[in-house]
């Protein structure tokens, strides 16, 4: 199975790797991660941002806090793919819907009163 180089690259940093492993154990907040590491909260946030961009973790707001979860390989990419797919598909749909009505889809026009 091929993994994205960007994901491996994101795990290059040992601190980032530790953070990822922490999140993999159970979902947690930035503050919770910071408490167990000798780095500042803003550094942890930066690392999480990189992990998020590499689709390794994802964030979910829970009240005032953001909880980080792992994003299993494939799932994040699948979601990103679906997001792009629907954006593109709906663009095409809009063009089709706004095309003059003399085309294909009019079989039950006569049913309309």
């Amino acid at each position: 199975m091929a993994y994205d180089y960007s994901q491996i690259a994101a795990l290059a940093d040992p601190t980032r790797r530790t953070i990822f492993e922490r999140v993999a154990q159970r979902p947690c907040s930035v503050a919770e991660i910071t408490r167990t590491l000798p780095v500042s909260q803003s550094a942890v946030s930066q690392h999480l941002k990189v992990l998020k961009e590499a689709l390794l973790v994802r964030m979910e707001p829970q009240g005032a806090r953001n909880i980080y979860h792992i994003d299993p390989a494939g799932l994040g990419r699948m979601r990103a793919w679906l997001d792009r797919l629907w954006a593109e598909a709906l663009d095409e749909f809009r063009l089709a819907a706004d095309r003059p009505e003399d085309d294909s889809i009019k079989e039950d026009r006569e049913n309309e009163t």
């Binding site: 993994y3 598909a89 819907a97 889809i105």
Partner: protein, 159 residues
């Protein structure tokens, strides 16, 4: 216990000049006329894609050689307001009748004319339903554990 893995739904909307009635028709009966042809699931190039107009109707594509490849089915059919489809294609690009992800589309009439079409593709976490397997994979040597070890070795060698 909350689930660990649940990607947020994909939400997209688009505004068209057409009234809901026509928008619904183009979306469903005209599905093949706008669905990007490049996005076929089957192994052969896609010729048409179809949503059968009824609850329980099939949602499938037809290849140029006439072969059919199922995508899912129609759960709710409420012209011209709403359609709810089951998308049963997993992260492995295979049709799985037991997999349920939902695509819900609302056709909202606008006061100034036209329609806002709101689409939500949800229950994506079901694609990761093998969550146990995923967790095991992550912990195994072939999973992240192994990748991290491999990466560490490569990084050390490069250092």
């Amino acid at each position: 216990m909350t689930t660990t893995i649940s990607p947020s739904p994909v939400r997209r909307s688009v505004t068209v000049k057409a009234a809901p009635q026509r928008a619904f028709k183009v979306f469903t009966a005209g599905f093949s006329s706008w669905w990007p042809k490049g996005h076929s699931i089957g192994s052969v190039p896609q010729k048409t894609a179809t949503i059968e107009p009824r609850v329980g109707g099939r949602w499938y594509e037809t290849g140029e050689d006439g072969s059919e490849c199922p995508w899912g089915d129609v759960i709710a059919w409420e012209p011209p307001q709403r359609i709810l489809l089951a998308w049963r294609i997993g992260a492995d690009w295979k049709y799985d009748p037991k997999l349920l992800t939902e695509v819900e589309v609302h056709f909202v009439p606008l006061a100034e004319g036209g329609t806002r079409v709101e689409l939500e593709h949800r229950l994506l976490e079901n694609m990761g339903d093998k969550a146990d397997e995923t967790a095991a994979m992550l912990g195994s040597e072939g999973g992240w554990g192994g990748i991290l070890v491999g990466f560490g070795a490569a990084a050390d060698a490069a250092a």
